[in-house]
């Protein structure tokens, strides 16, 4: 039974994948229509998965409270906030006064605080890098980061146009070249992953 289910899943994935890919390359009206239909279904399933995700989040924290795990008071706060937000946004609408109040006075400050923490965490990580991996690449990485930072700071009493020009050159030439090289590798990896899925070699759906 399990094998039959796996074979059926693989057949559906391969056929739908081929239709969507074929609709992109070939100008056949029926194939193009099917491609649009499948892509719409995928968007719809994505939205349903988001709701499932919220339920999963709810379940994880509810279980944490029930079993009295470490940090369960925070889970309780999360559940109360989740229910309150769903009720307020659901009944009053996403652009109502209270919905916007939640967004502006709770959501935005929390994310901004995390962003501020992130800046400190990244500075510490940079400082720790040389202790962890002391090699030429790490030294180049840290020196470049410091140099670009120094070139970006605007101080009224210091003016080094050469520094700004050099920073622009680093940004334009070596950074762009390196980034494109990495992105080409990522793109090739993405294509390979797509083909493995289409061939049924990768089955992340329980196969």
């Amino acid at each position: 039974m399990s094998r039959l289910r796996t074979s059926l899943s693989v057949a559906i994935v391969i056929s739908v994948g081929l239709i969507v890919l074929g609709g992109y390359f070939l100008d056949i009206p029926m194939l193009n229509t099917l491609q649009i239909v499948f892509l719409r279904w995928a968007a719809l399933l994505g939205a349903v998965a988001l709701i499932v995700g919220v339920f999963n989040l709810f379940n994880v924290h509810l279980r944490k409270i029930n079993t009295g795990q470490k940090g369960s008071p925070y889970s309780l706060i999360l559940l109360i906030a989740l229910i309150a937000t769903v009720l307020i946004v659901g009944f009053l609408g996403p652009t109502s006064f209270w919905s916007m109040w939640i967004f502006n006075y709770i959501h935005v400050p929390i994310e901004s605080s995390l962003m501020a923490v992130l800046a400190v965490v990244m500075a510490f990580a940079g400082a720790r890098l040389l202790g962890r991996r002391f090699n030429a690449f790490s030294i180049i990485f840290i020196l470049t980061a410091l140099f670009v930072l120094a070139g970006s700071i605007s101080l009224s009493f210091v003016d080094f146009p050469v520094l700004a020009e050099l920073r622009d050159w680093i940004d334009r030439v070596p950074t762009t070249a390196g980034a494109r090289g990495i992105l080409l590798g990522v793109a090739l990896g993405t294509v390979a992953t797509g083909f493995r899925l289409l061939m049924g070699a990768d089955r992340p759906y329980g196969g």
């Binding site: 349903v48 988001l50 929390i110 990244m122 390979a192 493995r196």
Partner: protein, 250 residues
């Protein structure tokens, strides 16, 4: 069919043919000549040590939706999850997967379930091992921290789509003294991970993980195909530059 589509189709066709060709060659003459990536050697040791010490492995899949191009890195993460789960599911503390996107969360549960079925231990599977810890980048990072801090995680594998907020996750690992192996498709995250993780995977190294974790013939074939196609792309770029230089194309 437009000229661009014809070019894309040729590229995809060549990729596919090479993939099949290398799969046939490797099936006939199985050989392991992959260049050494320290992160994968460390991961093998970490899995063994976690099982022995009764510690947990955490696989963070990021928040790239599978409907999107970012989803490919999440799918690679699922392959890693499958391999790790098969090796460490019998541990006192089974591996846990966290994700920040609905479909990825469902797929992580499905992958874990099938891994338990493969080792005939379905009764040990609990859906809570595949968690969705937050649905926005920062909430995902914040929701992942308690897993690392409270669940005796010895190694965290980050494989998926992340942003710069991934530094919060790697910092939590650093504080509890656990190992971090990390790769992402996002350039910003790669720069952060290079600085903050013990074993960063740069660029396409993440996509080669299946080959290094013995996930199958096609994974090894795709690594070889990627190597060949990289040279094809380089040749194409050089040829394009040359043609532009001599004025054949504008």
């Amino acid at each position: 069919m437009s000229q661009i589509h014809l070019f894309e189709l040729s590229f995809a066709g060549l990729f596919f043919v090479l993939l099949i060709l290398f799969a046939l060659v490797i099936r006939k003459r199985p050989e392991k000549r992959l260049r050494e990536i320290p992160a994968f050697a460390h991961l093998g040791r970490s899995v063994g040590l976690a099982v022995e010490a009764g510690k947990r492995l955490h696989i963070a899949l990021g928040y790239g939706g599978v409907n999107d191009v970012q989803g490919a890195s999440g799918l690679v993460g699922l392959t890693m999850l499958q391999r790790i789960a098969r090796a460490a599911s019998i541990s006192d503390r089974p591996p846990i997967a966290s994700s920040g996107e609905g479909t990825l969360g469902i797929l992580s549960q499905d992958t874990l379930k099938s891994s338990y079925q493969a080792i005939r231990s379905e009764n040990l599977y609990d859906p809570i091992y595949g968690q969705i810890s937050g649905l926005t980048p920062f909430s995902y990072a914040a929701g992942t921290l308690p897993i690392i801090m409270d669940q005796q995680v010895s190694t965290t594998v980050l494989a998926g789509h992340f942003g710069s907020e991934v530094a919060l996750i790697t910092d939590a690992n650093e504080r509890v003294g656990s190992q971090t192996m990390a790769g992402s498709d996002n350039l910003e995250a790669q720069a952060v991970l290079y600085v903050s993780s013990q074993d960063p995977l740069i660029g396409e190294e993440l996509y080669a993980s299946g080959a290094y974790l013995n996930a199958g013939l096609m994974h090894q074939a795709s690594v070889r195909t990627q190597d060949v196609m990289r040279w094809v792309v380089i040749a194409g770029i050089l040829l394009g530059g040359l043609l532009k230089l001599i004025g054949v194309i504008e």
